[in-house]
Amino acid sequence: MNKRLLALLSVMVIVGGACSPAATQAPAATGGAASQPAATTAQESATITVWARNYTVEEGRIQPWAPDPKSAFEAAHPGVTVNLAEGVGSTDQFNRIELSRAGAVEDKPDIFQLDNIWLGQFVDEGITANLDSYYANWADKSDIVPAYANSTIVKGSQNAVWFYSDIRLMVWNKDVFKAAGLDPEKGPATWDELFADAAAIKAKVPGVSPVEFPASSEESTVDRFYSYLYMTGSNILNADNTKAAFNDAGGQKALQLYVDLVKQGYTPKAVLGETADDNIAHVFSGKAGIMLATVGDGLGSLPDGFDVTKFQSTIGAALPPLCTGCQPASTAGGWMLAINADSPNKDLAWDYITRVTDGKNMVPFEVDRTRIPVRTSGLAEADAFKADPYFAQEAEAAKVAHFPPFIAKYTDMIEILWTGMQKAINGDLSTKDALDEAATKVDTLLAP
């Protein structure tokens, strides 16, 4: 009997090990984020639970949520409190919202922060409340930059309020440029200049990657590529978001830029394993000369030992360089706030959202994190943004920025796109074949 029992236990332990990653790991990473129960139904003594990104509720840094908006809101609604739940990273934020909808976690937010690329999916799944009636009576709606205000309309209705935005700029390391005999204050403005600068860095600064871009299996790979795609006149999807458009001549030209940089030895093939965070760390440390596109000018991701003065003397930033016959372009991303469709306190949630997203309230946070205001009143606070040495470039990029499509299957679509990009960069397929293959898969994915 002992032997049988031992054998049985061995089998269970071994097989238990086999099942643990799928059965427990993914949900465990996402659960337990909020610490308080969801709002009650009585508005007189309600709690408004907010699920935000980690860095917007970081202790010791400027927060858009508090102290002013929170205290003013609570003073205006005696008995109502705001519960700023624990902030989490991007993936965990997505998962906890989805799990909450599925009923797999008890906590439910009244307000949640969402990446703009999730909006289509969340609307499709009925997670976000329809905000048309609130927008209709909202005086401040005209303060939102029209391109942004229009982007929150999905299926003909308003579903979210823009929180803050970010924009893509090219950055370079001035010390590397000096060592290569280049003008440290002038980054490449065209693709020809990009290759010329890369050649100079390669020749004169050994051990440094002249140009980097993310190409690993994650979202920043496509996000940082879009600016180059847009400038050629190409787009990600067609006008009604039903078919791939990235495989046209412009898309091929943009991807060929990446392929040529690798082929000519200006970009290490190792970028296939690197994220945007890896690239920017390399630029800051002087191990890379140029990063084709990053969030803002990189001021928001300062490493230890850097202050604004050192940042400005080390890092340069400008609009992504242009190809011949192309138009200036950048990519806008950012975060929105939405009200949970199941929230019993939608009116209160809306009131708090309007206080938080107020243009003037957002400015200190946006300056601190080098985010771009989505309000005209915020953009008018030019003096406040003087702390960001490249705010002028960011504002310039904002004028030519494009949004990725807010479609329900966006996260599935970008996996197909980055896999196609990797095949071309790795030399497995030509740019045309790689993008055509990806486009066929995207068309199948988006087919009704």
Partner: protein, 297 residues
């Protein structure tokens, strides 16, 4: 008579709590996983899910990016590499430690076990830094001896080998611990007899020590095998299965489908396949263990 009945029930009473815990935390998740593998569950829809039969298995097995065959092949190579590397390093170190005094052995054993007690995620990020082509130690060392930089985590063959090295470093400790324990129980007189007969240490190891610890060695091998098969966190921290799914093992495939794509049904289908493979290995182990046990008792 009452005492007799109570006596017979004692083992089951003692086992009741562990069995309940096992039911809740092992069998119930298994059952749920099996259930979800036949449904169209997604991360946003976990209840009232539609039944899809074996469709998830068909989808997973016919997927071309990555193909399931390549996932199986990568898993097999990674697992075998981990197994052989852990056994070689763990057993080699245990044998080396067996030759020094007990005090020194204890101190060194504690040092050698450090990687085993460090979180795999930390080990993964550490090795990722070591392999960083721009600022990593690996290329710096190569540069000192005049060898050009290597894209450690980009080229498929090199990336898989680099992951195996990191995983062996992370996991050889359990083999070292188990084999060291077994070596301590090898009767000194049979080693002495070999020495008296003039056998070299290598010959004694091959002909005397290793056969004496064979059952334990088998256990260490099984632990290393299952550890390799289920490695997730270290690979995720180092490559996330990329680029181009070149390092995507079954554990990573489970995670990608479940957590990244939110397709609980397909992720559960991969889990069931991995479960079946692990079950086959477990049954094989028990059969071999029983045969070996009969030999030695």
């Amino acid at each position: 008579m009452v005492r007799g009945a109570f006596g017979r029930a004692t083992p089951w009473l003692l086992l009741a709590l562990p069995l309940l815990v096992m039911f809740l935390f092992l069998f119930l998740p298994y059952l749920l996983t099996f259930f979800y593998s036949t449904t169209g569950a997604t991360i946003g829809r976990l209840f009232n899910v539609p039944q899809v039969g074996l469709k998830n298995f068909q989808t997973v097995l016919s997927e071309d990016a990555p193909s399931f065959i390549s996932v199986i092949a990568i898993t097999a190579i990674f697992t075998m590499g981990t197994l052989l590397g852990s056994l070689a390093l763990g057993t080699g170190l245990a044998l080396a430690l067996h030759t020094v005094s007990a005090g020194v052995r204890s101190a060194l054993l504690a040092v050698y076990l450090i990687p085993w007690v460090i979180s795999a995620v930390i080990i993964g990020y550490t090795w990722r830094l070591i392999y960083d082509p721009a600022i990593g130690l690996a290329n710096s060392v190569l540069g000192m001896v005049g060898i050009g930089p290597v894209d450690w985590l980009t080229e498929q063959g090199i990336a898989l080998s680099a992951l195996v090295v990191a995983n062996v470093w992370a996991g050889y400790g359990i083999v070292l611990l188990v084999v060291s324990g077994a070596l301590a129980n090898v009767p000194p007189n049979i080693i002495l007899a070999g020495q008296v007969d003039g056998a070299s240490y290598a010959r004694i190891v091959r002909r005397v020590i290793l056969p004496a610890i064979r059952p334990t060695f088998l256990l260490a091998a099984l632990v290393a095998l299952v550890s390799g098969l289920n490695t997730f966190d270290l690979i995720y921290a180092m490559t996330r299965g990329g680029p181009l799914y070149h390092t995507e093992t079954m554990a990573l495939e489970m995670y990608r489908l479940t957590a990244t794509k939110g397709n609980i049904g397909q992720g559960a289908a991969v889990t069931v396949i991995l479960f079946t493979i692990s079950l086959a290995l477990a049954v094989g182990y028990v059969l071999i263990w029983r045969r070996e046990n009969r030999k030695w008792t």
